[in-house]
Symmetry: C2
Subunit: 335 residues, 2 copies
């Protein structure tokens, strides 16, 4: 089995120097159209495959971007990963994936490994913990790094963040339930000390305060199981609650699934709004009203920012918020 052809073989075949082949490869406009064609033909003829490792070594920039996700099993992040990967491949970059599984030590090891692979940039939806070490590692590598969804901060150190406007989402949900005539609105799910939970809750709390109403907050896991449990608890302990805003769609779907068994009519007795607009939310019974973070657009914007940073050196804003919108379906009695 013969070894792979190199640009030297291409040059020989096309009757030019290997510099010329390299220029064609890089799309340099200085090369005559005719020459360019001849070179491309030669490549096709001998089955040339570009060797990016060599290019990376010489030019010190790879076409790889590291995507480090705290929990890839969560459909919300998966959808982001899928969209991001596709947007990036259109820009000529490949995505190297790492699932940190909410484990900061694992996260650090994976970031180290990706640095060795010479990724040109990082997109990180961080796992909490060991923030100082992780930020130092990233800063030390000098690799452009954009945080998404969540933020890691340590004294002085921080990295640009792109996140959906969670606070506004919380507001939209609360305002919607009030407009629907709800009298008592609860907030369910989300771990209490997490920034994301606090943001979503803050929007809800602000609206209730403006209206002079008393909030009811039951934080906890962000799972269907927690939603089911809380539906029962509300039914028993807070029967006056007629509207709930859930930390995410999973919690909301849990609430909905528990309703029939409790004799609650969702969308009438209890109006439910989720957060994230995951795919399942369209197909629940009843379909779930939710706050959409517009993941495909968010992923495209993320790709645009990191590519701009790498290629043009455009530093993203320190903290950018992406738009969210309310999607009204039957679970909140809408339409």
């Amino acid at each position: 089995m013969k070894q792979r052809p190199t640009i030297l073989d291409v040059a020989k075949q096309a009757g030019v120097s290997k510099s010329t082949v390299s220029l064609v490869l890089q799309g340099n406009p200085a090369v005559k159209e005719e020459t360019r064609k001849a070179v491309r033909q030669a490549m096709a003829d001998i089955g040339y495959v570009y060797n990016r490792s060599a290019a990376t070594l010489r030019s010190a920039t790879s076409g790889l971007i590291g995507l480090v996700i705290n929990d890839l099993r969560n459909p919300f992040f998966t959808e982001f990963a899928a969209s991001f990967q596709m947007a990036l491949s259109e820009a000529g970059f490949a995505t190297v994936l790492a699932n940190a599984d909410e484990d900061p030590a694992l996260q650090r090891r994976m970031i180290s490994s990706l640095v060795e692979h010479g990724v040109a940039g990082f997109i990180i939806s961080p796992s909490y913990g060991e923030e100082a070490e992780t930020l130092a590692l990233l800063a030390g590598s000098g690799t452009p790094t954009l945080q998404v969804f969540r933020t890691l901060e340590a004294e002085g150190a921080s990295l640009p963040v792109l996140a959906p406007d969670y606070l506004r989402g919380g507001r939209l949900a609360a305002e919607h339930l009030i407009a629907q005539g709800c009298r008592r609105i609860a907030f369910l799910g989300g771990l209490n000390d997490r920034p994301v939970t606090r943001e979503r809750m803050k929007g809800y709390l602000a609206v209730l305060e403006e209206q002079g109403r008393t909030p009811l907050v039951l934080t906890g896991q962000s799972t269907r199981a927690f939603g089911k449990a809380m539906a029962a608890r509300l039914h028993e302990q807070h029967p006056d609650v007629d509207g709930v805003i859930c930390f995410n769609d999973l919690v909301a779907l849990g609430v909905l699934s528990a309703c029939p068994g409790l004799g609650i009519r969702p969308g009438t007795d209890l109006r439910v709004v989720g957060f994230d607009d995951i795919e399942d939310s369209q197909d629940s019974v009843p379909p779930l009203s939710t706050i959409s973070c517009n993941i495909p657009d968010f992923a495209t914007e993320t790709a645009r920012q990191i590519v701009g940073w790498i290629r043009e050196g455009t530093l993203p804003p320190a903290r950018a918020l992406s738009p969210v919108r309310l999607i009204v379906r039957a679970s909140s009695g809408g339409a």
Copy 2:
């Protein structure tokens, strides 16, 4: 900003030659423990980072494995991707991700790109279409490639496959429903011409035939929406059906969610079994009986096979089946 240290800097710092540093890097046992320690210390002191691009170029083997998935938005594949990535990182490989989105042309472009990046191996859950070209591309690159879940075949050409024993899963589901006392059992969902659908259905058909019963097959999309629609249709047109085996959990969850509205008691009037054991299936109302493909183990085995192929040259079996098992929950009236 000073540029990154190289093994030459490490050698200087440690007072050895750069060859020695390289040997330490590769864990070569020929180096004295004392020297090894000194080298490691020197690396830590000057903040050395291994440059894999250089190593890849010289040794012609990268630590990258390409994972090409037909539909990364499907939670079943996501869970596989997450598990696989983690198993692989333990073996010292990074995973480069590509979502082909069921588009064979996109799939080809992504494989090409991954070949340029010099991936040491491919794991592909293929999108159907352009099989001959895709197989030729893979064969031409000479990269070890293992297919998972699905199979691409063209005359003569084929690649090793690792897949769950779908046929056995279909059998297990059918036998279970019969043991539960079902009289008339239908098979729902899955595109009719797909090999995976055919396998799952074949197990079901075999059992029904052995029992001298008449099958009822309603193939179609593999979505919750299709499941909901079919529940209504069965209710109207085939009220005698008291057991259904669904192509996957999504279809089954759709069926379950439609039951309350139709006045059907799932697990009693209608026993439902799904396929895949996705996470949501534990939390549905009622919890869903299903055939588990044991994705974490499957991912570990996939990693083991591709790493063995790359490192030891152990060619995987042409077609290996991984075990499946029935998980009985309330939707089939079990327990």
